[in-house]
């Protein structure tokens, strides 16, 4: 219970506004409509592929049910929609589409990547200046726009087939996919990961060092410098910390 009239007024007004059904009062209904439209608009902007896969009417109903039950937790609407993949996974009308929640997870990763901070680029020359005996202690951070996603469905193939100008037919319909979501020239360009890149990204993403990476790659995924070179070319590597710098 709030002690002050202002807090009490806000608490009550918001509770009335956020009831799942539109208020009968036409004045209050304006706010309810705007709130729902803002949330549903945010979902539509973040999940265009899900929308294309299920159709506009189906998507709108799903978005309405989710938006009515899920408050926004931020004054920035770009933050809204993180819980939609989990909702889709439990949404009975979509139960036949096992890949749908996975595609939604990829779309949220793409959305986060699009709006992530720029971060600093990887500096190969600076890494070359690190003393050889300190290299094993170096930890390279991933760029803020990088997201890693592994799925038992070919989510990237489905995502790519449903981009603008594509007819919706994926190149693969079965099989797992591991996806690196990254941003190049301000554009989000997810790509399928090879096994050495995936292994290395997992280690670096968890804060591991090049020493950890060398040890892991020694079990047959090829030399570290080749894998690092591939990741640098994908523009997923950010700054690094060496023991001396830290």
């Amino acid at each position: 219970m709030s002690a002050h009239p202002l807090a009490r007024a806000q608490e009550r007004f918001l509770a009335r506004l956020l009831e799942p059904d539109a208020p009968r009062d036409t004045r209050l209904a304006v706010y309810h409509r705007t709130t729902m439209a803002a949330r549903m608009g945010a979902l539509a902007a973040a999940y265009p592929v899900v929308q294309r896969l299920v159709g506009g009417a189906f998507f709108e109903e799903a978005a309405r049910v989710h938006a009515a039950a899920t408050p926004s937790r931020s004054g920035d609407l770009h933050d809204y929609g993180a819980r939609f993949p989990g909702f889709i996974a439990a949404y009975a009308p979509a139960a036949a589409l096992a890949y749908l929640p996975e595609v939604a997870r990829l779309e949220w990763a793409v959305h986060e990547s699009r709006h992530a901070a720029d971060g600093e680029p990887f500096d190969f020359a600076a890494l070359a200046r690190v003393a050889p005996d300190e290299l094993a202690g170096v930890a390279i951070v991933l760029r803020p726009a990088v997201r890693l996603l592994s799925s038992s469905h070919p989510v990237l193939a489905i995502w790519e087939a449903n981009q603008e100008g594509r007819d919706g037919t994926p190149e693969r319909t079965h099989g797992a996919q591991r996806v690196i979501v990254r941003r190049v020239d301000h554009e989000v360009r997810p790509i399928e990961a090879d096994s050495a890149s995936w292994l290395l990204l997992g280690i670096l993403g968890a804060g591991g060092t090049l020493g950890d990476a060398m040890e892991a790659l020694a079990h047959g995924d090829g030399p570290l410098d080749a894998a690092l070179g591939r990741l640098a070319a994908l523009e997923v590597l950010g700054g690094f910390m060496s023991p001396r710098r830290a």
Partner: protein, 270 residues
């Protein structure tokens, strides 16, 4: 501005569909106003804003800070705003004289405050905190409202004027919101105008509204209404010319439609 044309006083809201055309055509506009939250991240949006900033003064207009809320100020939101202010050195930084969250739940809409002494003190202190955090003066905008919250002890214009006076900030006078509220709550918009200290008004907003269920709704999806143009002319007559913005945020029309609206405002304010 080149010497052939008097300096423009009117700007338009910056929306993504117009980026490329603005960069190419560079129409004579006094400034562009960007919604702060649209540039909180990295990537394409701030890269465009940087290009626009090289061509025009830019002002930042926030919709999500929830200034009047009883929740504590969102430090993450403020930090991102402060970063934008440092990077783009905006002409104005503005927010709304409203609230949009309680208990961490947001409506992402602009809810009215009760016009009480408690609300004046609360929001004025919060504005002060934001100004301290940003290291500069901000503008607050009077909002359109469809309900009145209790306890209300004064008319809206007294509330607005007192908040601005006590916070030591400036007013972003939204003339369309004055008109919408006058119609929805039954007061004479002239009462609002005479209560406002002209020296406190740093910027004026103009936008379109639409009628629904017997109410005027501030949709920002239509041309400025005839009555609002008239009220704008009376406002300029009373307080003098001010930098003026044409806002159009939904069902965004071709750039030329916005430029025509800006030209109409320019003819009144020049």
């Amino acid at each position: 501005m080149d010497g052939a044309r008097p300096p423009a006083r009117v700007g338009i809201g910056l929306r993504a569909p117009h980026y490329a055309q603005l960069a190419q055509r560079r129409p004579p506009l006094a400034f562009l106003e960007a919604h702060s939250e649209n540039f909180f991240g990295g990537g394409l949006a701030p890269a465009w804003l940087e290009r626009m900033r090289a061509l025009y003064p830019v002002s930042l207009h926030g919709v999500g800070l929830s200034l009047g809320s009883c929740d504590s100020l969102d430090e993450r939101h403020l930090a991102r705003l402060a970063g934008l202010v440092r990077r783009f050195e905006p002409l104005f930084v503005s927010e709304h004289l409203s609230w949009s969250s309680f208990g961490g739940r947001h409506v992402n809409d602009l809810l009215p405050l009760p016009f009480s002494e408690e609300a004046v003190a609360h929001v004025a202190a919060r504005i002060g905190a934001v100004q301290d955090r940003l290291g500069r003066e901000i503008l607050v905008e009077n909002v359109s409202a469809y309900v009145r919250l209790e306890p209300t002890a004064m008319p809206e214009w007294e509330f607005v004027a007192e908040v601005v006076r006590r916070a030591g900030c400036k007013l972003l006078l939204d003339v369309n919101n004055v008109w919408v509220n006058a119609m929805n709550h039954g007061f004479d918009p002239a009462d609002f105008l005479v209560a406002i200290d002209p020296a406190s008004v740093a910027e004026i907003h103009l936008a379109g509204h639409e009628r629904a269920d017997g109410l005027l709704v501030d949709t920002h999806a239509a041309p400025v209404a005839r009555e609002v143009w008239d009220l704008y002319a009376r406002t300029v007559e009373r307080i003098g010319p001010r930098p003026t913005l044409i806002e159009w945020d939904a069902d965004i029309p071709p750039l030329d439609v916005l430029l025509a609206e800006a030209g109409r405002a320019e003819a009144i304010v020049a």
